[in-house]
């Protein structure tokens, strides 16, 4: 069970059960769908910008605990961040879930996102954790085509 505990940490279970930023944003500047056709995970990311700053971010949709908790943690982490800061977090997050990050590297910056580190031990689940992040990145890059992590 020990490796399962590293995947399904309290933080993940909590964010799955009570996702943060889980709402439709009526006055969003932009929004985009992300889906994982093999799993059926399907989310929409909403964003409101204030100049270069992500003023507000929210999401709706459904999927597994990993994908939902990751979307929730992401919303909490990048709200009020600049584009560059969000892009940097995206890269760090990506390294974290693909096991390219040393265990202590950037942990301060990653904060609660570090809870997703266990995903790197479960290769089949990396795409679950990444879905919302790839969608967020596409929103920042002004893309209009739905994102798919397959």
């Amino acid at each position: 069970m020990s490796d399962l505990r590293t995947l399904y940490q309290e933080v993940i279970l909590d964010h799955n059960k009570n996702p943060r930023g889980f709402r439709v944003m009526e006055d969003a500047d932009k929004f985009l769908e992300g889906y994982n056709p093999l799993c059926g995970d399907h989310y929409t990311i909403y964003m409101k910008m204030n100049g270069d700053v992500i003023e507000d971010i929210s999401f709706t949709g459904a999927g597994c605990a990993i994908s939902k908790a990751s979307a929730s943690l992401m919303c909490a982490a990048i709200k009020k961040k600049t584009r560059d800061e969000a892009s940097k977090l995206f890269r760090q997050f990506h390294d974290l879930v693909t096991g390219k990050l040393g265990s202590l590297e950037h942990l301060d910056e990653l904060g609660r996102l570090a809870a997703l580190g266990g995903v790197s031990e479960f290769p089949a689940r990396v795409k679950c954790a990444s879905l919302a992040w790839h969608t967020m990145k596409a929103v920042l890059e002004e893309k209009t085509k739905a994102v798919s992590t397959e």
């Binding site: 069970m1 399962l4 399904y8 279970l13 059926g40 990993i66 089949a124």
Partner: protein
């Protein structure tokens, strides 16, 4: 609770020696994540007995040559072995002639072959192709492609809340425009056994031919294509304890003879000149290029293996095991079984509270239990039941009550994690 993974005493009441059968499958003896493997993903692919593995190994070691070509010993012997399997498969499904057996890559290619040859030749603008709401994507998409090419229309017979095809609806959807019916024999996502014999008889009353997707049926039940009256019957080697990459299309001789070829190339011709090519006879007309010879040899061994087991005993054993699995799962309050047809075989598809099937799948995996989670290549079925995915445990003759007990314990663990 003490878990006896694979005790023979669990399997009382059957004359099948399940312990002996399990010993025939080398892969079943291993551990996964430190736990004895419980393999419950048989609807995706079955495991292979040593006899199948050995026959392919032996083919490459002692018999490898191209077939239907050489005059040398190896080529003649390989050709004979290949053609013997055709006869064996013909007997196995009670075809009228072994020439009605076409070797293909699998069920998917078999259906695509029918759509691309018989379909293109016989289905025109405004005509209708009829399938059911239970179909696997491989029995939907080839027909959509055909409809797109010909201007014909794909019609779907709805299923009820139990996951059964409604015969009165089927009857209503059979019209003068219906040119082809294609149905699964057993649903891969829900396990529903479809009354194909009745469906074929109803379609034949109106002169409409029927394609049967038998991928899930062949490993679980005795198939008699003439008894069913099927015009085409498609199945895969790898779902019946044979190798991947080989499958069978049975087609009635009158259809196969009238159909244009599928792919062009070597072996499907009698003579070629730049002006005119004479196609080979059935079934070679549909087997262009060097085929999967080792796959055919392995398929032959799989047919041998299945033929050595009494089909009545097999069905009875699997039916009892499915009933046991259904009962044990329903003891868990949070489990909802999707697909409750009266006639079911081999599959139990379910959800657990609001825990996503992929999370269940990961937790079961760490317990050494292999199940399928997702939409099972049957997204319209998932939509019908308003779920995005299910957990699917699918059985084969080597599964035991011990396997089911491990599954139930694993689901309990998942429920604990997600409290």
């Amino acid at each position: 609770m003490t878990i006896h993974a694979h005790t023979v005493s669990d399997e009382r009441g059957t004359s099948l020696d399940i312990a002996k059968i399990r010993a025939d499958f080398p892969i079943l003896g291993q551990t996964v994540h430190g736990k004895p493997l419980v393999y419950l993903d048989n609807a995706a692919t079955t495991q292979k007995p040593a006899s199948v593995i050995d026959s392919m190994d032996s083919y490459y070691r002692t018999l490898n040559a191209n077939i239907h070509r050489g005059v040398h010993y190896l080529s003649e012997t390989a050709t004979e072995a290949y053609e013997q399997v055709r006869e064996q498969v013909g007997r196995f499904i009670n075809a009228g002639s072994s020439r009605e057996i076409v070797f293909v890559r699998g069920t998917t290619e078999a259906i695509n072959l029918v759509a691309g040859t018989y379909g293109l030749a016989n289905v025109g603008a405004g005509d209708e192709i009829l399938i059911t709401g239970l179909e696997h994507h491989s029995n939907i998409v080839p027909w959509q492609i055909l409809a797109g090419r010909t201007g014909s229309v794909l019609k779907v017979v709805p299923i009820n809340d139990a996951g059964e095809v409604q015969l009165d609806d089927f009857g209503k959807l059979l019209t003068n425009r219906t040119k082809l019916v294609s149905v699964a024999h057993i649903s891969n996502s829900l396990g529903t056994v479809v009354p194909v014999k009745t469906i074929i008889s109803m379609a034949h009353d109106r002169g409409i031919p029927v394609v049967v997707d038998g991928a899930q049926a062949v490993p679980h039940t005795k198939v008699d294509v003439q008894g069913l009256g099927a015009d085409f019957y498609a199945f895969s080697g790898h779902k019946m304890f044979g190798p991947t990459g080989i499958g069978v299309l049975y087609g009635r001789m009158n259809h196969l003879e009238s159909m244009p070829p599928y792919q062009g190339g070597g072996d499907m011709i009698k003579s070629v000149s730049f002006e005119k090519t004479i196609y080979n006879d059935v079934p070679y007309k549909f087997e262009a290029g060097t085929p999967n010879i080792a796959g055919v040899i392995g398929l032959g061994s799989a047919v041998d293996y299945l033929s050595g087991i009494d089909s009545g005993e097999l069905e009875a054993y699997e039916s009892k095991l499915l009933a046991y699995a259904t009962g044990r799962l329903l003891e868990l309050e949070s489990v909802r079984i999707i697909g409750t047809a009266e006639e079911k075989a081999g599959v139990v598809s379910f959800t657990v509270g609001d825990i996503h099937p992929h999370d269940i799948g990961t937790i079961l995996d760490r317990e050494g239990i292999a199940v399928r989670t997702g939409h099972h290549c049957a997204q319209p079925v998932m939509k019908r039941f308003n779920v995005s995915a299910t957990v699917r445990a699918s059985l084969a003759l080597y599964n035991t009550k011990g396997d089911i007990d491990r599954l139930v314990r694993g689901i309990q663990k998942a429920s604990e994690v997600f409290g």
